[in-house]
Amino acid sequence: MGGASAHLLRDYRPAAGVSDELLAPDGTVRPVWRKFVEHLANLTPEEVEARFGRGDRYLRDAGVFYRKYDSAGPAERDWPLSHIPVMIHDDEWAEIRSGLVQRAELLEEVARDVYGKNTLVERGCLPPSLIAQNPAWLRPLVGTKPVGEHFLNFMAFEIGRGPDGHWWILGDRTDAPSGAGFALENRVASARIFPNFYAKTDVHRLAGFFRAFQAALEAGQDPRDGRIAILTPGPLNDVYFEHTYIARHLGLLLAEGEDLAVRDGKVKVRTVDGLKPVSVLWRRLDGTSCDPIELDPDSRLGTPGLVDAIRGGGVRMVNALGTGILETRALMSFLPKISQVLREERLALPNIATWWCGQPRERAHVLENADRILIGSAYSTRLPFDSDERMMLGRSLDAEHEGGLERLLIDHGRDLVGQEAVTLSTTPVWHEGRLVPRPMVLRVFLARTPTGWQTMPGGYARIGSAPDTAALAMQSGGTVADVWVVSDHPVSRKGMVGQRPSETRRQEIDALPSRAADNLFWLGRYVERAEGNMRLFRAYHARLAEGLTRDHPLLVAMHDLMAPGAGGRSAAMAKSFELPLESALVSAGRVRDLLSVDGAMTLQDLGDTSRRYAATAIPEDEIAQKVSVLLRKITGFAGLVHENMYRSTGWRFLSLGMSLERAASMAAVLAALAREGAPEGARDLALELGDSAMAHRGRYSGVASPTSVADLLALDNDNPRAILYHLTRAKKQISELPGASDHGRLAPAQRLALKLHTRLAVETPETLTPAKLLGLREGMWRLSDLLLSTYLS
């Protein structure tokens, strides 16, 4: 090790009795880390910080976040990447991999048994109460055979390295494991932090794993007409980002429970084109929440009848409903024996030592070793390090429980389990210019493919924020890191996922869920409403700065357009765009999988800026300038929508929402400002609000008249601020929606759009009265309602 490395490792002192990933017991850097440490040591601290910043920026720009719950309620947080990857050698990985595949096969057999003949209970390999009283054992699924034969298709294992250097299984994630998408994002970030080093190092790439699983999902698809959907609990879930991310990258439909319906024993998705079949459901929702009729009746996230569809073989589930029972902590104490009985094999990777306290011998052991054994619920499916998991050292329970630990174990032994308190290995993290050791666990992902289980070569490391293991969970300040599986031989460098064949792209378009269309439509309306009111607000304050008073007829007219009923205070008027903006963000949050990352970021930034302004006192004379900043950002979003979005059905709803809102608000503006007898300056104001002052100068010499303004802002088919322009556009969009016309007969929405368009098109600037304008506006709202009831309910 050179001097630079020595500096880097000056404070790196693993605790006694703990294994360390970086340093061998003799204090030398392990071979798999050597090149990396040299590389890092050759960078100046400034360079290192700049590179880490690059990784963080990538994650921010990609919109990676997680949702944190605390006393202030849920909030989106930046992704807490620890920038130093964990290095594991290929040879060691091969052992981990074969141990995990063996365990996956075993768990599949256990699932088959507990949802089938229950021979494990009959033969005494599992206590009956552990199954019968387990909330994760879903009785309605007992006896059903999964479509596609397998219970488990995608799973994860939480593993840790003990003091003796061997790996242990800490938890099985078999219900709806999360993290694979985050692992992929961590990889993109770490490859950006160490671009050259990553490129020339033989680190196993992750893309192949996702390609293989995607192919496996597609193989299970009904070839005639069956979609693959990810079933998500929705935007309030802490890892919703990952669901949207995977849906986008693998070209899958993202569905919430209420988007799905069961008809004739089949699962369908509600789309703008009616119900469409779904043949594969990749479930990211807990099993018990999936069907309020036959499972948890309080769940609002599920789909009524899903169990019925499964019973009839109407849908392929990834994973089968009910597989959550395999996560039961107490099961770990029986798996070694079950492996012997079912497969006549020893478990190559042991799980963390676990004792079910329903048996006298185990109870005695737990009691004797109460100082180093943690005790918790036998049925818990949480991981030992989850922040909200309550496990207590046996010794402390002894003091706390009336009658002591022994009494507790005798009275409630069947419901309790003891687990060895594990000491985890440590891995380096960057801390104030140097490396320091912190405890870690790894999550490793397995996917079933037609050729067997595949393991993601790498994974997702969670790292503690302090030297002890208590703060491992992200919710309590822990970080996450990429995992590099390093080979001595050249690795395949096939590209990342993301380039999708055109067929999958089409799936998204033809099956736009009604909920998504609804959110896109409202997103369009809210954004446009916010923009219109920002323009009014800016013009209002520009007039104030010019010396007009708030009771000037022009300002009163503007106030009434913006916020009728609200007081004349600026803060109250600002709500006229702040509130629609917040609503737009909510709508956007629910269709994150359909918006480009740039689009979502632009909106986020807009919301942040608006909130920042709202929270600070801005001098009157700076208001107009601040609102101009917001206006530039919001027109940036509109630009992205119209320049960058694929002309899908989703885009049509977004665009329709924008057009109807803009046309309707322009009708109100013209009715108020372009009429005979409007206050002085009203016509110039109308042109300003319509961003058409320049166009007016070019077309009409002289001052603005009621007719020139109406001509340009109502009847001009080439002015993107004019009403007719948007009615023309809306008419076209509606004609291209599914089911618009039935054998040449116009559908109601199409007929109304055509009527409105004609009503305006036959007018001249002279005949277009305020009453007609307001009548048109009324018609546009009716059209909006009609669209909502036709497509979106």
Binding site: N118, V121, E122, R123, G124, P128, S129, I131, A132, Q133, P135, R139, P140, V142, G143, E258, A261, V262, R263, D264, G265, P292, I293, E294, D296, P297, P304, G305, D308, R311, G312, R414, D415
Partner: protein, 294 residues
Amino acid sequence: MRYDIRLTIRHDYAAPVGHARHLVLVTPAHMPPRQRLLNQELTVTPPPAETVSHLDFFGNLATVVTHTAAHPRMAITMTAQILCDPLPAELNIAPALGDLSTELDSLPSLLPNAPHHFLGVSPRIPHDDGIAAYARETMESWMNVRDIVVAFGKRIHDEFDFVPGATTVETPAAEAFAAKRGVCQDYTHVMITGLRALGIPAAYVSGYLRTMPPPGQARLEGADAMHAWVRAWCGKEAGWIEYDPTNALFAGQDHIVVAYGRDYGDISPVRGVLRMSGDNLSTQSVDVIPIDAV
């Protein structure tokens, strides 16, 4: 005894309901020789788009009915004719409570009838310290498991007031226990909670009661709607017994079983999800008429 049974459940919705799916468990069980289902018919109006039946985990006949067109009300009518045999007299051969767990451990089975399903907590039967203490103080040292079941059921009957309308189908056992009043569902849930706290497997039974008593006998409470009582496991020899805490008697020839479950939630007569607001009115009427003596 042969009975004609007729049940009508009516839902009047505040606003017409479009798509609706219901899981219905109202048909008497066919379990000879105790009760034989001679014929049965389930009629739903408006006629459902789909009607599919299956046996649930506990062997109960469950029917899923699906409506797809808008409807302002729904009516479910079940008619059945059933032949009930007198239950054979039982011997009181239950073990002491202390021996019950050993007997449980020697039964490695998860068949629908296995007692293991009916211990511990279930969605509508959480642990409750108050009810547990109430059950414990009912025990006397001389009692075996069966004696405990009977004493506890009788005590609930004696100390609770039967007050229709005092509770709803959603009322937790702890609430009914605190108020010491309710209807058969509440009596049953309180009794199950207490028995399980003692380690006695206890199940929820839904069913029907003969509407008018034989001449000279008192009319039983709970005959106007579907009834509920308790099934408790008294060891390998004695097996399951059924006790009706609402009327303080063993379920007999006048108790007609529809379904067994861990609690009301497993076997409520009509389960469905309505995503709507507003008041929905639900009414139920039951007639159980003997047609001849056996």
